[in-house]
Amino acid sequence: MTLLIVQALNGAQLGMLLFLIAAGLTLVFGVMNFVNLAHGVQYMIGAYLGVSFALLTGSFWAGLVLASLTAGAFGLLLEWLIFRHLYKRGELDQVLATFGVILSLNEGTRLIWGSNPLELPMPDLLSGSFQLVEGLRYPVYRVAVMAAGLLVALALALVVNRTRIGMLIRAGASNGPMVSALGVDIMRLFRVVFGVGAMMAGFAGVLAAPLVSVEPGMGENLLILAFVVIVIGGVGSIRGAFVAAVIVGLVDTLGRSLITDAAQAALSGPASARVGPAVASMLIYLVMAAVLAVKPAGLFAART
């Protein structure tokens, strides 16, 4: 039971990280219909910049702010250099070019920071743990990551649902050409969305850095999970991204422990040790397939 609570919390925390990445990705897809495979790179760059800035300034917090801002600026630079030439192209060209960007940046990272995994120590303020229930302690930092993700989600929901620019973003996601025809500079709107999305992914990278090993290519595993999130949640929907991120985070983390236990109970002997992990690793994809079977456009599709 206590293990279950810990797993649920870890799942929620993974969900928050996924949301930070998927939110930017889903809006970029939604508004510009642009497949940015290189969005995971922003997460990696955020983590690396976080490590470097924290070393440079001696403060995790300064590193967090500087790295997020720099990652956002870097995203805008990529947009200006490469991505803006791709919006009118087919999705295959977009995939190919952003695949090239991933190769370049992963290798560039390896060149600058080396292949060995780096570590970012937790800030002292959050490095402790607290008592969850009798005999079970949980790290404060993971709760802080969850809280940070929730805060960003709330802020984003406020902006998207309550402000003028949010209204334009929503309108852009459901019908871009129409918004453009009404005299809105959709490219400028998009640049804002892209920059914020890149910044959020970078922010997620710094947050995750103390929990994972910072290494080249770390962004792609999360990027593919973020794709699953977007497919489940529906392209262009922040609400969908949030709900789906929590679902994917929980299913992936809880599934791994529950399925393994269930397999052990159902199939005694060595077979269980083999079947359990294999099924558990496939679980989120099966959830995705189930959602698609019922709602091909995802749970909360922006475009009807």
Binding site: L103, S104, R110
Partner: protein
């Protein structure tokens, strides 16, 4: 005229064993790399059937390749090396995989199709990594290569020629498929799905059948790949592999089939060639891809449509 380029490609590939047969010394590394090119070309060609001709941009084509390779490993662990068992197992497994995942993925189009196929390939990647009996993440070393009716057609000496024969046979098969009623319906669906359906053709069934055929050919490439390396690992299903296959098809020229061979040659040679010069070869290949997309729009063969 239509067949000049493909014939030239296959003749060039046949030169290596021919030269060796007349006594010219061909370095082992040349044969090795050329057979890698052909194996990747086989997988890329099958991707071209669905992506170039059918307009279904699969970002998960490494998955059926890996399934084919793992079929070899599973049979090997059971002590079975006969191709008469291994190949049907590989084709059936990959075909069933494509049938199940394709039925789901085909509910969506375009970008979503890309993401979903990528996700299913990632599923195979993690699933193969958790197969403790077959080495898990570390992979599985074959105890022996697959034999064809008792003949060692896949041993280090003969695998080149076998692969070449398979490649040519598959190329001819895909040409026949593309020219058939089925193939033309598939191409028509790419151009205008609604119209095809209005003609009373079941577009979904045709697309699904194309996905299954492509997956089976990819599995065949996987069988060859496993035999060439005598090793199988989850890396066969890694997302980067799927990306490379896409790059091969698009660089070579979508929908041309033989363009996939050229694309495969470029990517494999670039990786091997640059890899010999610098370990940071992706820093060359990556920007090259970006520039190729921005300035060089229709692939090497230039037959790309759309």
């Amino acid at each position: 005229m239509k067949f000049v380029v493909p014939v030239a490609i296959f003749v060039a590939l046949a030169l290596i064993p021919l030269l060796a047969a007349v006594g010219v010394h061909v370095p082992g590394i040349v044969t090795l790399i050329a057979s890698r090119v052909m194996i990747f070309a086989l997988a890329a060609m099958s991707l071209d059937l669905i992506m170039g001709i059918g307009g279904l941009p699969s970002f998960g084509h490494a998955a059926p390749v890996a399934i084919g390779a793992y079929a070899v490993a599973v049979c090997d662990a059971a002590g079975v090396q006969a191709a008469a068992a291994v190949i049907p197992a590989a084709l059936a497994a990959a075909g069933l995989f494509a049938l199940a995942t394709g039925a789901v993925a085909l509910r969506t189009r375009g970008v979503n199709f890309i993401m979903i196929t990528l996700a299913f390939a990632q599923m195979v990647y993690f699933a193969t990594g958790s197969l403790a009996d077959y080495g898990g993440d570390d992979g599985y070393t074959l105890s022996a290569r697959t034999t064809v009716f008792g003949l060692d057609l896949l041993d280090a000496k003969r695998i080149y020629l076998t692969t070449l024969v398979v490649l040519i046979a598959v190329y001819v098969l895909l040409r026949v498929i593309a020219a058939s009623r089925f193939g033309r319906a598939l191409a028509a669906i790419r151009q205008n799905r609604g119209r095809v359906q209005a003609l009373g053709i079941d577009a979904f069934a045709i697309e699904l059948a194309a996905l299954v055929i492509a997956a089976m050919i990819a599995a065949l490439a996987g069988v060859l790949m496993a035999n060439q390396a005598e090793f199988v690992s989850p890396a066969y299903a890694a997302w980067g592999r799927s990306g490379e296959l896409m790059v091969m098809v698009i660089l070579g020229g979508l929908g041309t089939l033989h363009g996939a061979v050229i694309g495969a040659a470029i990517v494999v040679l670039a990786e091997e060639g640059l890899g010999a010069v610098t370990q940071h070869w992706p820093l060359v290949l990556g920007p090259f891809l970006v520039l190729a997309v921005l300035f060089f729009r229709h692939g090497i063969v230039g037959g790309a449509r759309r």
